[in-house]
Symmetry: C2
């Protein structure tokens, strides 16, 4: 068998998330079922960089999968894309892992997420399912200033889902930029890794600042409280997209 | 009754186009049925700036509709958006027409369309239905240069659908810009008005240049031939969006 690194794009609508679940179709199941067509029906196990929840999207998820020897990277890409039709999941790039013990999750040194808020009166038509629709005009500058108090290494218990399985609530947040572009508020978050729901909980909290319901300084206080109930609600999955997973050496080089 | 100008956004997937047809649901039918809820069930007639074909999208279509007196612009917007759920059609803005004889179609002085090509190996997942997927790498610079030969006032018979009902094939093309942004090729077209399928026929022709199958100069020759068979095929509707309709005075002012 040969190990391959895959870069995936998917629309999270209609899936129960990355991970296999009994209550619906997962991205993992579609990928592994497609891969089984290359493995005489045996379903190979895949490993990914970061599990995404139901409704969360990926522009560049990274996975590892074990396939029979003798295939080219191009053949793997085309065969998987063929067998994943018509599901909104595609393999963008395929490459040999950079080294034998490469693991898409543990070898990653950075993850970039983007959260999109459509900030206007009318619900989305062209971007339904891909944005969080917020009617009240948000002060993106205030959200950005408040966000800066979360940068650095902290105990992020206040922004962590109850179901989070990480052994430690300590994370280092490298970037949390909020900017307005027309009627969209764009939030870019980068870290080596995130806790479960961390981005959505930070966004749900910053929205309270953007609405003027919270003073900017309350975000730092919520962080310091180390108590989930001190922070704001969880933003919906629709607006969240995993944009990039970074490695010491990019397995995909210049591939699209 | 009171006349209102409406600005609409819609996702053309799943519709037979703007105009009512016997073979499926149209954008017009959804809008007029929603409006009938404000008119004691009587279906009011709407007029629009430019009919869109099946699968073509609008970020800012403009329509006119006659509704009972006594409603505010905000009430019209909210009521129509409520009654158009769950269809991917929304009213972005509502305003009184600039003058009594204002007509969204005949008063328009400019229309801007954008055509998006996703130029990569893998089919689209996040933007399925919103882009034309072209696998072969396109030379966007060559497409742009060739496009410039179509600017100005010409007989556009070569780029006109057989079903086009316009009395004259003469049109003045003000802008046809082609640019690459990452793995997308973006085509922006502006004119006072377009013939039926004109943008899609121009895009289908420029793609031949982008692939290197046509020399750049052949686009001018195709125009001069005044013969539909001299130009390239019609690009699919997916990538096309009506971006803006311009008037001597913008009815919507600064509304979103």
């Amino acid at each position: 068998m040969t190990l391959w690194a895959l870069k995936l794009e998917y629309d999270g609508r209609g899936f129960v998330g990355w991970q296999r679940q009994v209550n619906g179709l997962s991205v993992q199941e579609v990928l592994e079922q497609a891969a089984s067509r290359l493995c005489n029906g045996v379903v190979p196990a895949s490993v990914i960089a970061g599990r995404t929840d139901a409704g969360v999207h990926a522009a560049a998820q990274v996975a590892r999968i074990d396939l029979p020897d003798g295939l080219t990277a191009r053949a793997v890409r085309e065969a998987l894309n063929f067998h994943m039709k018509p599901h909104p999941i595609v393999v963008l790039a395929v490459a040999p892992p950079p080294n034998a013990d490469w693991n898409p999750r543990f070898s990653a040194i950075g993850r970039d997420y983007r959260y999109l808020i459509l900030n206007r009166a009318a619900r989305p038509a062209l971007e339904a399912g891909l944005v969080w629709h917020v009617k009240q005009v948000l002060d993106a500058d205030a959200m950005h200033r408040a966000a800066q108090s979360l940068l650095g290494r902290h105990d992020f218990t206040s922004f962590r889902a109850a179901a989070c399985q990480a052994p430690s609530p300590l994370r280092t947040l490298d970037r949390l930029d909020v900017q307005r572009v027309g009627n969209r508020v764009i939030i870019d978050a980068s870290a080596r890794s995130f806790l479960h729901h961390q981005v959505r909980n930070m966004v749900g909290t910053l929205k309270l600042v953007g609405e003027g319901r919270w003073p900017e300084t309350r975000v730092a206080a919520a962080l310091a409280a180390c108590d989930r109930s001190a922070a704001g609600p969880t933003a919906p999955p629709d607006g969240l997209t995993l944009m990039e997973v970074r490695y010491p050496r990019d397995p995909f080089g210049t591939q699209q």
